[in-house]
């Protein structure tokens, strides 16, 4: 209803403006032909509006940075490569804001300063090789720096070395669900193909039941990771494209049916530690205030109040995958090695999870 109300108000404003313009036009009847071309008065008004618009751009930038610029997602990365990415991001953002501020100023200020006036003659200035060389070479140098920095970062992120002895975990995507598969004591994932899926036997990921490596594999619906240990994800999808997006770890890779993709990182902050981070405490508190506020409306309507929010790392689906794409998530828990060992010991291994006929 709010939306409808806003629309109605706007429609009325519009009609009012329309009527005013009509009156304005009628008052101008009898003016010479070409009266729809900008006059000196139009030039002046619009020139001042240009400066106003420049101010608007600056204000909206400042408001956005102050209100939403310090989102924990930008500064609190929880993986070993995270700070590297964030550094590059911050350098790029600073560069962007500097260039943006200067060029927008020049554009709007020139539009203001050189507004059309009687008796003003434009400068016939068609070419200047020095100027053009300057603004070709400066971007070349800046971009060369960014490209080199970016490529080094990219290579170090994407080169997962098996020498680090990573834990190998499979992320398995299906409409609209995630599963994780741990490789077990042998640290080798058993062979799998969706053609081997046997729902009756609870072989839901299509593991090769005859493969010795598969016997000790562990399938879970929660992703637990020991802190400080490199992890290498092998990703599969059983139906359509999905994307495993783990924003806190600066990690993302598509899951593609018919092939295995991979991404690796080292988590550096446990879930418990992150919950104690002052920025995160603030954020969670803020979110809970919003949730309490929203709950009031819900309770008034006779529905249940919202649960309080507690921070958790998340794996989100970030490639459109169908109707419930918006609700395809899995909780990630980063914990100490001891907690992890204790958790994994409780999980059923594949051999024992099969339904025996």
């Amino acid at each position: 209803m709010t939306a409808l109300f806003i629309i109605l108000v706007l429609v009325f404003i519009l009609i009012a403006i329309w009527q005013m313009v009509k009156i304005f036009d009628l008052a101008q009847a009898g003016l010479p032909e070409n009266d729809q071309v900008a006059t000196e008065k139009d030039n002046t008004i619009n020139a001042y509006l240009m400066m106003g618009f420049l101010a608007f751009i600056y204000i909206i930038t400042i408001v956005c940075i102050v209100k939403w610029g310090d989102l924990p997602l930008l500064s609190n990365s929880a993986s070993a490569h995270g700070p590297e990415v964030d550094n590059l991001m911050i350098i790029s953002l600073v560069l962007i804001f500097v260039v943006q501020t200067i060029t927008q100023f020049l554009l709007h200020y020139f539009a203001f300063k050189y507004k059309g006036q009687k008796g003003r003659k434009a400068l016939f200035f068609a070419d200047n090789n020095t100027l053009e060389a300057i603004w070709t070479i400066i971007p070349v140098i800046t971009l060369a720096g960014l490209i080199i920095y970016g490529l080094f970062t990219w290579t170090s992120i994407m080169n997962v070395s098996e020498d680090d002895d990573p834990i190998v975990v499979e992320l398995y995507a299906q409409q609209f669900n995630w599963k994780a598969r741990y490789s077990g004591a042998d640290n080798t994932l058993g062979k799998a193909n969706v053609r081997l899926i046997d729902i009756d036997k609870a072989n839901i990921l299509g593991l090769d039941e005859s493969d010795p490596n598969a016997q000790d594999d562990i399938i879970t619906s929660e992703l637990h990771l020991p802190v400080g240990k490199p992890v290498l994800f092998k990703m599969r999808s059983q139906d359509v494209l999905h994307s495993a997006y783990m924003p806190h770890f600066r990690a993302q890779m598509n899951c593609v049916p018919g092939m295995v993709t991979q991404f690796g990182f080292t988590p550096t902050i446990t879930t418990a530690e992150m919950r104690q981070n002052p920025d995160m405490i603030d954020k969670v508190k803020h979110i809970n205030e919003i949730r309490v506020e929203n709950s009031k409306d819900l309770v008034a309507k006779g529905e249940d109040a919202l649960d309080a929010y507690e921070f958790d790392y998340l794996l989100l689906c970030n490639k459109i995958c169908g109707k419930s794409h918006y609700n395809m998530q899995m909780k990630i828990i980063v914990e100490t090695q001891e907690e992890y060992d204790a958790w994994i010991k409780e999980q059923k291994i594949f051999k024992n999870s099969l339904v025996k006929n």
Partner: protein, 597 residues
């Protein structure tokens, strides 16, 4: 030029021409000016649909799952009790993207102005083939009808995103829109591509062969350079999308496995084996990325022309502008992989595409600085078209700059497919190209319809649109950096994003206001066709050839001989002349030198 010999043939032909009937004049017309109007009006109509869709899904994002009268009225069974269904949400974003990118900003923009301006600005009587030109428009029209028709099929329109990645788009059991809706989408696009190819060939041939005497390539207005290069990019890349669409049709209907392999869905294993969705992504983006330049280059051409005319100054760095158009065109064909950094392709390829992608920033920067220098020390006439051109440069810079983040593979990992991307491409090619199109309409309206649009309505239209465009897309960068994925029907399942809900409301309110104020434009546009002030022959006191034709359209454009060109298109405020513009068909004065450009 060969055009000269042609002239006489056409002149003779002109004398014997039959009086056009209503049908040959307004419907199956072969006259480029009429075809251009047909493209524009069709594009405007599709634009209304596209913008209305965006307002609907923005309302859903701001007030998720709340009943809305607008939904109830427009979505019917897809909004039981006025609550939008999740499938139709995805369909709306899909069709919004398709309509805006292809039907409005490709056909509506390039189709309109290439058709109007190529013959008029190069001094030709019409396109090289008027008949093919007519076929091109009518194929476009048919594709529009099919796309609109697809909105009404039982299971809903295509809902796999405008990029229609298989297997989602290939399997009706994966998405309800992937049945008849997707079939119609593919058929519509195949016809659309045919239309673009025929049109593009015509543009290239016309520019190369039909330039009037004296119109060398280095005297062409930048508009023509832009249309010419755009047509070439289209000819190179559209066939690849056509092949992708045909292969997808094969996979969907004839059991092949080009893009599909090892699929288990709804309890059964499908027979597909050996294909790869990544192959589709490569084929799609081999068009998809050049496509954004197909959209933006014509807008750049229009803006260059309008900025020079309204600054009363030559465009700065004419040759550099042409060189950067060519550089952008070349680079645009080797950067498609930056859409696929996290698709699972080899990371080494990611490095290559990062390199080529960031290179595009160089010609883009040159263009932006040249526009700014063009207005420096000008005598700027603030016509609506000029305002939109300045707005174009502003949004092009704002949107373009974030490209250095998205083009950088290491950074793209974390903002890929978030609202950051939405903000980036809407500003740099959506809003910018739309501004280019508005600028073109306001500027060439007197040439198209012989009447002027109302300038005060134009000012209102521009300033509200400019504020709303920033209000919508600027905050989106920040929710994107906070990790909010795009194409989520609602964010309410993620308490993590609860603090972004108010940003989304602000964005939606700006979107609604901006959308509603387009009515000002529509009113101005349609009413002025009939009641606008009669235009004079050259209202903006411009130098290019189209303003030497009579206000009333005639077949063949010029009543007598074709004009002869003696100078480049930008002799504004040239020292030694009394007036501040010297049209291209005015011979050089004794002792006057043509600028060495």
């Amino acid at each position: 030029m060969s055009a000269h010999a042609d002239t006489h043939v056409h002149d003779d032909d002109h004398g014997h021409h039959h009086e056009p009937t209503f049908i040959t004049k307004y419907i199956f017309s072969t006259d480029h000016k009429m075809i251009s109007k047909q493209y524009l009006i069709t594009g405007v109509f599709m634009g209304i649909i596209g913008i209305l869709m965006s307002i609907m899904f923005r309302m859903q994002i701001a007030w998720p799952e709340e009943p809305n009268v607008l939904f109830e009225a427009l979505l019917g069974k897809w909004a039981p009790d006025g609550v939008m269904d999740a499938d139709i949400y995805l369909a709306l974003v899909t069709i919004h993207g398709t309509i805006m990118v292809f039907f409005v900003l490709t056909a509506g923009l390039s189709g309109t102005f290439s058709n109007l301006l190529i013959p008029l600005q190069i001094g030709a009587r019409d396109m090289a083939s008027g008949f093919l030109n007519m076929v091109s428009y009518w194929l476009f029209f048919v594709s529009c009808i099919i796309m609109i028709f697809s909105l009404f099929v039982e299971a809903g329109p295509a809902a796999a995103g405008w990029t229609i990645y298989p297997p989602l788009s290939a399997l009706p059991m994966a998405s309800s829109g992937s049945g008849m809706g997707m079939t119609l989408w593919l058929v519509s696009m195949a016809i659309f591509i045919a239309s673009q190819l025929i049109g593009g060939l015509n543009y290239v041939v016309t520019v190369l062969n039909l330039r009037t005497k004296g119109m060398s390539m280095t005297r062409l207005p930048l508009t023509i350079w832009a249309f010419f290069v755009t047509a070439i990019i289209g000819l190179v890349s559209f066939p690849v999308l056509l092949s992708a669409a045909l292969l997808l049709i094969m996979d969907r209907s004839f059991g092949t496995s080009f893009f599909l392999s090892d699929i288990f869905i709804q309890g059964e294993v499908l027979h597909y084996q050996g294909g790869s969705p990544v192959l589709f992504e490569h084929l799609f983006w081999f068009l998809g990325h050049p496509e954004v330049y197909i959209v933006i280059l014509p807008a750049m051409g229009l803006v260059s022309e309008i900025m020079a005319a309204n600054s009363r100054k030559p465009i700065f760095g004419y040759r550099a502008m042409i060189a950067s158009i060519l550089a952008i065109a070349f680079l645009s064909t080797i950067v498609w992989g930056h859409h696929m950094f996290v698709s699972g392709m080899n990371p080494f390829l990611g490095s290559v595409f990062t390199f080529t992608t960031l290179l595009i920033a160089i010609p883009s920067a040159v263009k932006a600085f040249n526009w700014i220098t063009t207005i420096w020390k000008g005598n700027i006439q603030m016509n609506t078209a000029m305002l939109f051109s300045i707005g174009f440069v502003s949004t092009f810079i704002t949107g373009g700059l974030t490209g250095i983040i998205l083009g950088d593979s290491a950074l793209d990992i974390n903002v890929h497919d978030t609202y950051f991307v939405i903000a980036h491409f809407h500003l740099v090619m959506g809003i910018s190209a739309l501004y280019g199109m508005f600028a073109g309409v306001y500027h060439w309206y007197p040439k198209m319809f012989g009447r002027m649009m109302n300038k005060n309505l134009g000012y209102i239209h521009f300033w509200v649109t400019a504020v709303c465009a920033y209000g919508v897309f600027f905050p989106m960068h920040f929710i994107g950096m906070a990790g909010l994925p795009r194409r989520y029907y609602t964010n309410s399942n993620f308490p993590l994003f609860d603090d972004l809900a108010d940003v989304n409301k602000v964005i939606t309110i700006f979107a609604i206001v901006g959308g509603i104020f387009q009515i000002v434009f529509l009113y101005n546009f349609f009413i002025s066709i009939f009641y606008g002030k009669k235009a004079t022959a050259n209202p903006w006191r411009s130098t290019t050839l189209e303003w030497t034709t009579p206000v009333e359209h005639i077949h063949g454009n010029w009543p007598g001989e074709l004009p002869v060109v003696y100078r480049w298109a930008y002799d504004y405020s040239k020292p030694g002349h009394d007036v501040d513009f010297v049209p291209q068909n005015i011979p050089l004065k004794e002792g006057e030198e043509e600028l060495q450009h």
